[in-house]
């Protein structure tokens, strides 16, 4: 009998395993970022890696986001595979020039003679007063740029596989982590695997409605799907994973089956990932759609520091459920109330769990 691995680790640990593995397996891999070798090790994801792999493989860096991005591009042209880390996605805005003008275009603009195999890990902050400049989820910006691959990992084992594959990819990959997923636990095999970056994953099957979700919204979506299934509504939940090269096939397949679509995204709604998915589904599944798709995302203003002002800001399982109610008109009001009640948040809304104590 085959023994099933029971090993359970967090996403942060899984990310660390991917880095450790790649640093071990491929001597061209290097890791750099402000705080990478420090005592907190980027929320635990880089702890001990400098000690293990040495100071010529694992680096701290000056606060020079644009320069360091260009430097990693240069290193990658010379055969290294740099992984560059920003503790917040917001800091990477300083490097849009190097990312968009150079990294994304190098392969194409020099006629395919070279490529830029770098991974830029950026972390979307949330909660505990991260506020306007430390919590932006701007996947839409990167994903609009041809030449960049943009992925948003969720589950630990998949995150590890995605990071390994991102590092081995010949192209620049923006690896967008969500601070509230670092603590997510899940079963993770000993054996390291790779994965195709541009495939969505069905993380829950269902026939009544398709929910395409990104990053942390997959978790909220699954919560909603659980609550709904108790009342006979089977939501199919797709973890989009890649927001640049969107997996049309998976989305079309599911929408053709269910005829109803909701998109839940961690970013701003307008001109966000949800717009593209709705446009795609409308263009490809027009006759199968029985109602107009719904979208669930952040509003068009920045995130406040104050939790009180964030009450209607971040979409939750309740918002997902409400979108479902709009599309499935056969759910009674009583059932709706019941579902929303069971989905109401138990603790403070500015932390992923009651025992969350940073670092933020």
């Amino acid at each position: 009998m085959h023994k099933i691995s029971q090993r359970t680790i967090t996403q942060a640990q899984a990310i660390r395993e991917a880095l450790d593995h790649q640093l071990t397996q491929d001597e061209s891999v290097i890791l750099i970022g402000e705080g990478v070798p420090d005592p907190k090790g980027i929320f635990g994801t880089t702890l001990g890696l400098q000690e293990k792999h040495g100071r010529k493989r694992v680096f701290d860096m000056p606060l020079s986001e644009n320069g360091m991005t260009g430097i990693c591009i240069g290193a990658s042209l010379s055969g290294l595979k740099p992984v560059l880390v920003h503790q917040r996605l917001d800091f990477a805005l300083l490097s849009m020039d190097q990312l968009i003008n150079n990294a994304a275009k190098w392969h194409y603009m020099f006629g395919g003679q070279s490529s830029v195999p770098i991974v830029v890990r950026v972390i979307v902050g949330r909660g505990w007063g991260q506020g306007p400049q430390h919590s932006q989820s701007l996947q839409a910006l990167f994903s609009h740029i041809p030449g960049l691959k943009v992925v948003m990992p969720v589950f630990p084992e998949d995150s590890r596989a995605m990071l390994v594959s991102a590092i081995q990819d010949k192209n620049p990959v923006i690896f967008i982590e969500h601070r509230w997923l670092h603590g997510l636990t899940g079963p993770v095999k000993e054996q390291i695997e790779t994965t195709r970056l541009n495939k969505a994953r069905v993380v829950r099957e269902g026939n009544h409605l398709t929910l395409v979700a990104t990053s942390y919204m997959v978790i909220e979506g699954l919560k909603a799907a659980d609550a709904l299934s108790a009342h006979g509504v089977d939501v199919e939940v797709l973890d989009l994973r890649c927001t640049s090269d969107i997996d049309q096939e998976a989305i079309i397949g599911s929408v053709n089956k269910t005829g109803l679509l909701i998109v839940a995204d961690t970013g701003h709604l307008s001109l966000g990932i949800s717009a593209e998915i709705i446009a795609l589904a409308t263009q490809h599944c027009f006759s199968k759609l029985s109602k107009a798709p719904e979208r669930v995302a952040c509003p068009s203003y920045p995130a406040s520091t104050s939790a009180a002002q964030l009450e209607d800001y971040y979409p939750t399982a309740q918002h997902v459920a409400s979108a479902v109610f709009k599309l499935k008109s056969d759910i009674s009001e009583a059932t709706q109330c019941e579902i929303l009640r069971c989905l109401s948040p138990s603790g403070p809304i500015d932390v992923p769990s009651v025992d969350y104590a940073g670092p933020f």
Binding site: P62, G131, P132, Q133, S300, Y301, P302, Q309, F360
Partner: protein, 331 residues
């Protein structure tokens, strides 16, 4: 008895020494109170305390007038308070209340008090440097009689935008003082891991800006350098750059000690604790006969009283149902 060349002899006017001392003490007590209140989890935002670094803010502000404008970064409490920023608005902001200085939208890292010329602090390292430079440009274009001061850390000097700002300030001879609080660390990372062997001030100097360095824990030295710089800037002689060495005593972000993490050099913290700017100035004021135990007690008491009142007031406010401001990203 003090001799004329005794390094402890205070030449600054009586009020200056006193005022700087009181400001430092005020900042220290506010920070300590914030640290202890923070544990109650009512102030739910990242917070970068400046304990150990009070001297620069106190000394610089001593040279500024209320219409002069100040900008800062993530570690801004001291700069804000020294410029006269409202403590009530700061504490309310930390509580995330609509009565906070940024209506609860910014927390510790986004301070403003326009009435006293503390324009803004924001936590993207380097983010306010060009903004401050632009404020100085506007003052110069409009012929206004005010100057700008912008505070930042050693880490900030690695951001390209500060060099762009220094270039522009030097080019247009803008009325601005750039003030670097070099505490040798960016989070846990030592200066030597981030910058080559040379002083920060020397690079600013090369940009064509008169620059000076000093002991950031010696409040009166800070004052001497700052007043010379501010005077020159006010006289229209272009920008100045000041670099002060100092040390952050608590953790980078949060209310606690972090000596257990072991990232500092052995003995480093201890050495700096001995150089506490408040203790240093207190002792010198006392030995110069400018401060006695009774006065000191009075100052302490009045500061603690003020702080206590503010915290009580804000705590009460935090229990009330205050109207939240409307959400609009547009004016």
């Amino acid at each position: 008895m003090m001799l004329a060349n005794d390094p402890n002899l205070i030449t600054a006017p009586y009020e200056v020494g006193h005022s700087i001392f009181r400001t430092m003490l005020f900042i220290r007590h506010v920070e300590e109170r914030l640290a202890s209140e923070y544990q109650k989890q009512n102030m739910r935002c990242p917070m970068h305390l400046c304990i150990g670094q009070e001297a620069v803010a106190a000394a610089v502000s001593q040279c500024l007038s209320v219409k002069d404008e100040v900008f800062s970064g993530h570690r801004a409490h001291g700069h804000y308070l020294a410029k006269g920023g409202s403590l009530t608005s700061l504490v309310a902001e930390m509580y995330g209340l609509p009565s906070g200085c940024s209506k609860g939208r910014g927390g510790s890292m986004h301070l403003t008090d326009l009435q006293v010329g503390f324009v803004a602090s924001t936590p993207i390292v380097g983010g306010t440097i060009p903004v401050a430079t632009g404020a100085a440009w506007a003052a110069s274009l409009k012929g206004e009689d005010k100057i700008v001061a912008v505070y930042f850390g050693d880490g900030c000097f690695e951001e390209g935008v500060i060099h762009e700002s220094l270039n522009f300030a030097a080019l247009h001879k803008l009325p601005i003082v750039f003030i670097c609080e070099n505490n040798n660390y960016s989070v846990y990372t030592k200066l030597q891991t981030r910058q080559p062997q040379r002083t920060i001030a020397s690079v600013a100097h090369a940009h064509g800006i008169e620059s000076a360095s000093g002991d950031g824990n010696d409040a009166l030295e800070c004052y001497d350098l700052a007043s010379e710089a501010v005077e020159a800037v006010r006289a229209g002689r272009g920008p100045r750059f000041l670099e002060f060495s100092t040390h952050r005593v608590l953790e980078h972000c949060g209310p606690n000690d972090d000596e257990q993490l072991g990232y500092r050099a052995p003995g480093e913290l201890e050495r700096w604790l001995r150089k506490c700017p408040i203790k240093d100035l207190r002792e010198r004021l006392v030995s110069n006969g400018l401060l006695d135990a009774i006065e000191l007690q009075e100052i302490e008491t009045s500061i603690l009283h003020e702080i206590q009142e503010v915290f009580e007031f804000v705590h009460v406010q935090s229990k009330m149902q205050l109207q939240q401001p409307e959400h609009s990203a547009y004016a």
